[in-house]
Symmetry: C2
Subunit: 178 residues, 2 copies
DNA sequence: AGCAAGTGTTTTACTCGTAAAGTATTGCGC
DNA sequence: GCGCAATACTTTACGAGTAAAACACTTGCT
């Protein structure tokens, strides 16, 4: 009974399936199909949040903090607070607070804009860059391990489907805002 | 160019793909595959949280509150606070606070256990049950609409893959605790 | 019976995010 | 060049979640 590939991988039941069964019993007429996607995505995200933060926590970083540092690292140039807010999908106020802490810890530096004194430019310090580069491989290895229960083909199918869904959602939200 | 079925649905780019490309440019040696799943799940969950709450918000409920009411409704009998915490994957303290508010709003009732006076039993009031039954179809219709960008086959594949993944994750976490 | 350990729930102190108001600065229209 | 809307960021007030301590009660051991 190889569960790693090929065979009809009848996996262990997940909690969402049980919840859906309960709803079906109480409201047999309801179309509970969306729960099987949205409920599971939410639950997976919650579990990732708990599990995934383990390597980050060792470095004393929360995920939002790491996201901020990561945005600076991956764009490879300075960003303003509002750009950071956009990149990390968080509010400006949250970015302000996180920057304050990260600055105190010596992981980022700020510099005022010469032309427009309203704007600040934020960049990683050497320590900040080293921290990100040190954590990221560890973090990715950890995530790889979390996903390893799914066979490679399942993983790429899942990634593709999620990319599809996310593309649609983001397009729709952009449309709503416009 | 039918995007609804069959054809090579080359969907609109999602933001996670762009982020992964940036990382690849900076660290070409890194295996960024897990981001394409975990990053997307997290981002989808965040978008759902914003979007999905719209129908609930009209009823003045947050999602955690609705989850609590839903747990009472779908199990169709009374639950203790600790059972509610387990069902809704939240801490006991959070349940205590939510129960306080929901009780004040007349949506749930509490009753002490005769045998063991530490435990409380919580049940929906008629108003609470009516609220859940009124909102749920609306909520499901809304969720169906959110997912409608994905064709039916994609949806069931996605649900199955997520069920697989979630089953593995939950199994693993249970193992860690044990 | 009486006390220690265990269990169910609540309280407390704290962190973190947000919305809304506040501050500082720019640049447009006249 | 002067006022005023717009922009960039910060501050404030607050709501919600958590971990750890506190509380209330039960149960098992002697």
């Amino acid at each position: 009974m190889t569960a790693t590939n090929g065979g009809p991988t009848r996996a262990r039941q997940d909690t969402v399936a049980a919840v859906v069964r309960q709803w079906q019993a109480v409201h047999p007429d309801l179309d509970t199909a969306p729960m099987e996607i949205i409920g599971r995505i939410n639950r997976c995200a919650a579990l990732f949040q708990q599990a995934e933060d383990a390597p980050l926590r060792r470095a004393g970083l929360s995920r939002p903090e790491f996201d901020l540092l990561g945005a600076l690292r991956r764009t490879a140039h300075e960003l303003t607070p509002s750009e950071l807010a956009r990149e990390t999908f968080s509010s400006g106020a949250a970015v302000t607070k996180r920057l304050k802490q990260l600055t105190e810890r010596g992981l980022v530096e700020r510099r005022g804009d010469a032309r427009d004194r309203r704007v600040a430019h934020v960049r990683l310090t050497d320590a900040g860059r080293a921290l990100v580069d040190g954590i990221l491989p560890e973090q990715l290895a950890y995530e790889t391990a979390l996903l390893s229960g799914l066979n490679p083909q399942g993983q790429s199918e899942l990634a593709a489907l999620l990319g599809d869904l996310l593309g649609q959602l983001e397009g729709r939200l952009r449309a709503l805002r416009a």
